[in-house]
């Protein structure tokens, strides 16, 4: 397990993540308060709108009081933090239920989609990247170096549209929207799984294609640097089989790969927003998009806090895994 230096490293990294999360909460708190319009605008609507909500001063004051908006800013901030710790992000304007409930309903789908896509794209990226760096300068390497960036150049929403068109409409292989068939009469848990998987295929393909090129280039880059190391020469001199040399290369490059893949999580969330929007997949991404379109500010901001939390947690997990794999971490 981890030794004392490593525990110290893990702990100090943890403090940094807590600080980062606190800053994200702070940004989330101050953003609406510094924007033009005032906090009640989202409830009342603009007074220049076609149908302005008429509201008398007393009700307005009561509303402001209800939301603690008459308090000085620092007290509001304390209230906000206390609520955040209790996972209370207010009520959704369009669903009229607590933000927490909305988010919890969406979270499993996103974890399913993003988790599977992350796993697939990382495995594929490691496989192709290692193969590519192993055969550097040869035919297969240059072929991969041309085709993989092509995937990176196609905007993810365009790729999604093409997938819907060819595999959904033209061939009719897969359903193109939602996560399950509505009002379906399931025969046992097998048919539930089949339904969920068939809905998952297209968004998963799209998100994997979005994430994979980055991982591929990263793995190729990291692994290529290993070839100058003496141990490779030693391996070859000992007459080891290719796959043993490859496993040595991979073991020596796994730490930067894990770190970098975790660092790309925030970027992947962006891809998930597009993919879920295009395929109407009921996850956090679609929730963020819908609440943006409906200007459902509490949900938008609550979802942002939740997403940030998961991204930070993913990064922290990667740090812990890395100090477990690499005994030297934290000793610079």
């Amino acid at each position: 397990m981890l030794n004392r230096v490593q525990w110290g490293h893990v702990f100090s990294r943890g403090l940094e993540y807590v600080l980062t999360f606190f800053i994200i909460l702070t940004v989330n708190f101050f953003l609406p308060r510094f924007m033009p319009g005032g906090p009640l605008l989202s409830i009342l609507g603009s007074q220049n709108a076609d149908l302005p909500v008429v509201i008398d001063e007393e009700t307005k004051y009561k509303l402001m009081d209800y939301y603690h908006l008459n308090d000085p800013l620092h007290l509001q901030f304390v209230h906000y933090l206390r609520d955040a710790v209790h996972l209370d992000f207010g009520y959704s304007i369009s669903y009229n239920i607590p933000v927490l409930d909305v988010v919890l309903g969406r979270l499993p789908w996103t974890l399913l989609l993003m988790g599977t896509a992350l796993l697939l794209s990382t495995m594929l990226g490691i496989f192709l990247g290692l193969e590519s760096s192993w055969k550097r300068g040869q035919r297969i390497d240059s072929l991969l170096l041309i085709t993989v960036p092509l995937f990176r150049s196609v905007p993810v929403f365009f790729l999604g549209t093409l997938l819907i068109f060819f595999f959904g409409y033209r061939m009719g292989f897969f359903p193109v929207s939602g996560a399950v068939t509505p009002y379906m009469d399931y025969q046992g848990s097998l048919s539930v799984a089949k339904d969920i998987i068939s809905h998952l295929v297209l968004p998963l393909t799209c998100l994997t294609a979005f994430e994979m090129p980055g991982t591929y280039l990263l793995v190729r880059n990291v692994c290529s640097q290993q070839f100058e190391r003496p141990y490779i020469l030693m391996d070859i001199a000992r007459g080891l089989k290719d796959r043993h040399v490859k496993s040595h290369i991979l073991l020596n490059s796994i730490v930067p790969i894990v770190n970098q893949v975790a660092a790309m999580l925030g970027f992947m969330v962006g891809g998930a927003v597009f993919v879920e929007t295009i395929f109407s997949y009921p996850g956090m991404g679609l929730l963020v998009y819908n609440s943006f379109i409906e200007r459902d500010y509490p949900v938008l901001q609550g979802a942002f806090v939740f997403i940030s939390f998961f991204v930070l947690a993913g990064n922290y997990a990667a740090d812990i895994i890395c100090s477990y794999i690499d005994g030297r971490s934290g000793q610079e």
């Binding site: 033009p36 409409y169 925030g266 991204v311």
Partner: protein, 274 residues
């Protein structure tokens, strides 16, 4: 110098292919008003016409000429790419060089800040900002620069740290050169390759983000954008059941892909070892 110069690196097949694509789109943007048969906001004819002589790519659902929109779309994409990448370059280089050259406490604080910025998932934050701001092209550019500079600062700072302890910089400092002089004469010129890479990478990010935001409906309605063309094309219910996707959906998507591919090829040739 043992390193290849920028122009040597661009003279590889990939670099030339990238340059040709880029020049093609710059030409398209520069001559849009000459080549386009109609104005960018003209409702020129019946909606949903198939391609003919008057409309090389037909018309969209409100009767605008798709070919004209496509030409003007290159202007929006290239402008955003240009302004965002230069904005990120200037701010990123400034902060990166300052932080890397000065070192010490300010360096630690700045880089911690950069780390925090890099970890925030940007698209949800962009949506929050956009929900509060007006949809305008300048707001999009502002947001993209705001969330992009940490990447530039990070690479510039790393390179500055390496340069700062190299022999010729030490020699200049010992000879009594002041910090601004050393930075101007010995640090910044050696940062040029990194700067070009930053420009290319940020252009890719800016083009994909701009079209993506336009696709999500955050675009500036007064600027034609390839992203919003795709958005309107797929919100037309019959798009996949007629041939309209071929001249409405496909050209816009192909344009974004090609332009980004051009920059990707440029980037690969600049990084040399490919």
């Amino acid at each position: 110098m043992h390193e290849k110069s920028i122009s040597q690196r661009l003279k590889t097949p990939k670099g030339i292919a990238g340059l040709i694509i880029l020049v093609f789109f710059i030409f398209m943007a520069a001559t849009a008003s000459l080549l386009a048969p109609y104005g960018p906001t003209d409702v020129s004819s019946q909606p949903l016409l198939p391609p003919d002589n008057a409309h090389p790519l037909g018309t969209d659902d409100v009767g605008k000429d798709i070919f004209t929109e496509l030409l003007y779309g290159s202007r929006t994409s290239l402008t955003v790419a240009f302004v965002v990448s230069f904005g990120v370059l200037v701010i990123g280089t400034f902060i990166g060089v300052f932080s890397g050259y000065m070192g010490g406490a300010s360096d630690r604080v700045l880089m911690r800040g950069v780390d925090i910025f890099l970890m925030i998932p940007d698209l949800p934050l962009i949506l929050i900002l956009a929900a509060y701001l007006r949809p305008s092209i300048w707001n999009i550019i502002f947001i993209l620069i705001l969330l992009g500079w940490p990447v530039g600062a990070r690479v510039t700072r790393a390179q500055t740290r390496t340069l700062r302890v190299s022999g010729h910089v030490d020699f200049a400092r010992v000879s009594g050169a002041t910090a601004p002089y050393v930075i101007r004469k010995h640090i910044v010129p050696d940062l040029y390759p990194i700067m070009v890479t930053t420009l290319v990478m940020q252009s890719i990010r800016a083009i994909l983000s701009e079209s993506g935001l336009a696709f999500l409906g955050l675009g500036d309605p007064s600027y034609p954008s390839w992203g919003s063309m795709i958005k309107y094309a797929i919100s037309y219910p019959m798009i996949f059941f007629s041939d309209a996707w071929m001249w409405w959906l496909l050209p816009a998507g192909t344009c974004i892909t090609l332009l980004v591919l051009g920059f990707v090829l440029l980037g690969q040739s600049l990084e040399g070892d490919y």
